[in-house]
C-alpha cells in the first residue's frame, strides 16, 4: 500500500450566506493516485478542492498530510486564468517568480515544462494568440513548473471542445506517468472520470459528501483503445448508476 498523502476527516464547510457546501466529508488520497470527484454542479466539489489547497479553512473536521505539512500544490482552474499582459514564458514563470527565482535561473525549468505540454515553440506568445486548448496547456505548465506533489484540477477541460478535451485527457495521463504527481480532478463528466481515474469518488447533492467510490483497475497510461475496453465501460456504467442514485436521493 502506498503511503497516504492526505486524509480528510469529517470536513464540513458552510458559507456566509448559510449554504452548507460540505458535511462530514471523508476522503483519503494515496501517492500517485488519480482521483476524480464526480458530481452534479454545485455539490461542493470545488469547495473541497479549495480546502485542500488551503484557500479556505474548514468549519469542522481536519486535513492531515503525510509528513504533517501541506506539500507543494499545483492548481488548475476551469478557465486558463492566465495573465493577459504576460507572455507564455512569464505566465509559467509566475510560481517561481513569487518564490524569488530570477528569470535566468527559472528558464531551464520553464522550457522543460513547456516541452512537456508541447508548447516549446510558443514560449514568447501572448495568451490572446493561443487557442483555448493551448491556453489550458499553459495553465497546466504553470501548475507543474514547481513539480508539485499534488495537482488539483477544477473542471479544467469543461469549456473545451470534445476533440481538444480527449487529447488533453490523454496528455494529462502521460504527464502523470512521467512526473508521478498525485492528481485530484473535479469533473461532472462520467466519461472523463472513467477514462482518467484510478478511483472515482461520486459526490452526493449538496451538502456534499462521498456517496460511492469506484476503483478502476487499469494501468495509469491509457490510450484511445481503453475507451473500448470492458473495464472502461463498466466504470462508466457504475459511475452513472451511482450518480443517478445520489440524484434520486435528492429528489425524494
Amino acid at each position: 500500500m502506498t503511503p497516504e498523502l492526505l486524509n480528510l476527516h469529517g470536513v464540513s464547510k458552510s458559507f456566509a450566506n448559510g449554504t452548507q457546501a460540505l458535511a462530514g466529508l471523508e476522503l483519503k488520497l494515496s501517492r500517485g493516485e488519480f482521483v476524480s470527484l464526480l458530481g452534479p454542479s454545485g455539490c461542493g466539489k470545488s469547495t473541497a478542492l479549495r480546502l485542500i489547497a488551503g484557500l479556505d479553512t474548514p468549519d469542522a473536521g481536519h486535513l492531515s498530510w503525510l509528513g504533517g505539512t501541506r506539500p507543494e500544490i499545483g492548481f488548475v482552474f476551469q478557465e486558463p486564468t492566465l495573465m493577459p499582459w504576460a507572455s507564455v514564458f512569464e505566465n509559467v514563470w509566475l510560481p517561481l517568480r513569487l518564490k524569488g527565482v530570477s528569470r535566468q535561473k527559472a528558464t531551464a525549468a520553464i522550457e522543460e515544462t513547456l516541452a512537456l505540454v508541447g508548447l516549446s515553440s510558443f514560449i514568447n506568445a501572448f495568451p490572446r494568440e493561443l487557442s483555448g486548448g493551448m491556453r489550458m496547456r499553459v495553465s497546466i505548465a504553470r501548475a507543474l513548473v514547481l513539480r508539485p506533489t499534488l495537482l488539483l484540477m477544477d473542471e479544467p477541460f469543461a469549456a473545451l471542445d470534445e476533440i481538444t478535451r480527449s487529447k488533453l485527457n490523454r496528455d494529462l495521463l502521460h504527464l502523470q506517468a512521467s512526473l508521478g504527481m498525485t492528481i485530484l480532478f473535479v469533473t461532472h463528466s462520467v466519461y472523463e472520470s472513467a477514462y482518467l481515474s484510478s478511483r472515482i469518488c461520486v459526490f452526493s447533492q449538496r451538502p456534499g459528501r462521498i456517496a460511492a467510490e469506484i476503483a478502476i483497475a487499469a494501468p495509469g497510461t491509457r490510450d484511445e483503445t481503453f475507451r473500448l475496453s470492458q473495464i472502461y465501460l463498466d466504470a462508466c456504467a457504475n459511475a452513472s448508476a451511482a450518480l443517478e442514485e445520489t440524484m434520486r436521493g435528492a429528489a425524494a
Binding site: W85, A86, R128
Partner: protein
C-alpha cells in the same frame, strides 16, 4: 478606414462652408459673427500672441496631468493596501470633485499666484478620474489569479506588483483619457477666472481680453486653438493607451469605466 474619415470630414467642411456662406450672404459684421476665413487669417496675424498663450495653457495642462497621474495612482495604491484609508479619505476626494471647479477657482486665486492657481484647478479636476479608475482597476484582478497568488504565498507587495497593477492598467488608461480632457477644462476655467481678475497669460485669458476689446475674430481664433489642443491631448493619450494595451485581448479591456464627473 479611409471612408470612415472622409464622411465626418465632409460634414465638417460643409458646416464651415455653410457658415462662411451665411456670413457673406447676409453681410453679418465680423464683431457679431466672423467668417471662418477671417478667423483663420486672424489666427495667422495674431500667431505670436496666441501661440505663446497656447504654450502656457498646454504646459499647465501637461503639468497638471503628470501631477494627477502620479498622485492619483499613488493614492489609489494606498487605498487598495489600506481599506481604512479609503473609507476615511474618499469622501474628501468626492467633495473636491463634486464642487464645480469654476466656483473654487476665484478662491484659489486669492491664495495662490495666478499660475499656481490655474495649475491647482487643472490638477483638482484631472486627479479624480485617475484615482477612481485606478482604484477600480486595482480591485478588478481575476479572483482565480488572486487565489493562485495566495496559493503560492505571494506577499501583499507581490500581489500589487505582479497582479493588481497590471490588472489596473486598462482602467488607469481609461481614467487618463478622461483626465486629459478635464485637465484642459480645469486650466481654461481657472484662466477665465484669472482673466476676469486682469491676470494671466493663457488662451482663455486671451478670450476674456479679446472680449473686453470686442475683438470677436480673436476670440474665435483662441477658441479654435483650444479645441485643437483638446483634440491633440485626447489623440495623444489614445495613442499611448493603444500602444500600452497592444498585448491585451479585446475581451480583457474593461467593459465600463468608473463614471467620472465630467461637469465643472
Amino acid at each position: 478606414m479611409k471612408s470612415d474619415r472622409i464622411l465626418p470630414l465632409a460634414v465638417f467642411m460643409t458646416l464651415l462652408a455653410g457658415w462662411e456662406g451665411i456670413v457673406r450672404g447676409l453681410g453679418i459684421a465680423p464683431y457679431i459673427l466672423p467668417a471662418p476665413s477671417l478667423i483663420l487669417s486672424t489666427l495667422a496675424e495674431d500667431w505670436t500672441i496666441l501661440s505663446a498663450s497656447l504654450w502656457v495653457t498646454l504646459r499647465i495642462t501637461a503639468a497638471a496631468l503628470v501631477l494627477a497621474t502620479v498622485i492619483g495612482v499613488a493614492i489609489a495604491i494606498l487605498f487598495a493596501q489600506f481599506r481604512w484609508l479609503e473609507r476615511s479619505f474618499l469622501p474628501v476626494a468626492v467633495i473636491l470633485q463634486v464642487t464645480p471647479i469654476i466656483a473654487i477657482a476665484p478662491l484659489l486665486l486669492v491664495y495662490l499666484e495666478p499660475g499656481s492657481a490655474v495649475l491647482a484647478c487643472a490638477f483638482l479636476v484631472a486627479f479624480f478620474p485617475v484615482l477612481a479608475n485606478t482604484a477600480l482597476g486595482l480591485g478588478s484582478a481575476d479572483p482565480n489569479l488572486r487565489d493562485l497568488f495566495t496559493l503560492y504565498g505571494a506577499s501583499a507587495w507581490q500581489q500589487m506588483r505582479f497582479l493588481r497593477l497590471p490588472s489596473a492598467l486598462p482602467y488607469f488608461l481609461g481614467g487618463l483619457r478622461i483626465a486629459g480632457g478635464l485637465a484642459l477644462i480645469g486650466a481654461i476655467a481657472a484662466e477665465i477666472a484669472a482673466g476676469a481678475a486682469g491676470q494671466g497669460a493663457g488662451l482663455a485669458y486671451r478670450i476674456v481680453e479679446a472680449g473686453y476689446r470686442l475683438n470677436i475674430p480673436r476670440m474665435f481664433a483662441s477658441l479654435a486653438l483650444i479645441s485643437v489642443a483638446g483634440i491633440a491631448i485626447y489623440s495623444a493619450l489614445e495613442f499611448i493607451s493603444q500602444r500600452a494595451l497592444r498585448r491585451w485581448t479585446e475581451a480583457s479591456r474593461p467593459k465600463g469605466q468608473a463614471s467620472a464627473f465630467t461637469d465643472i
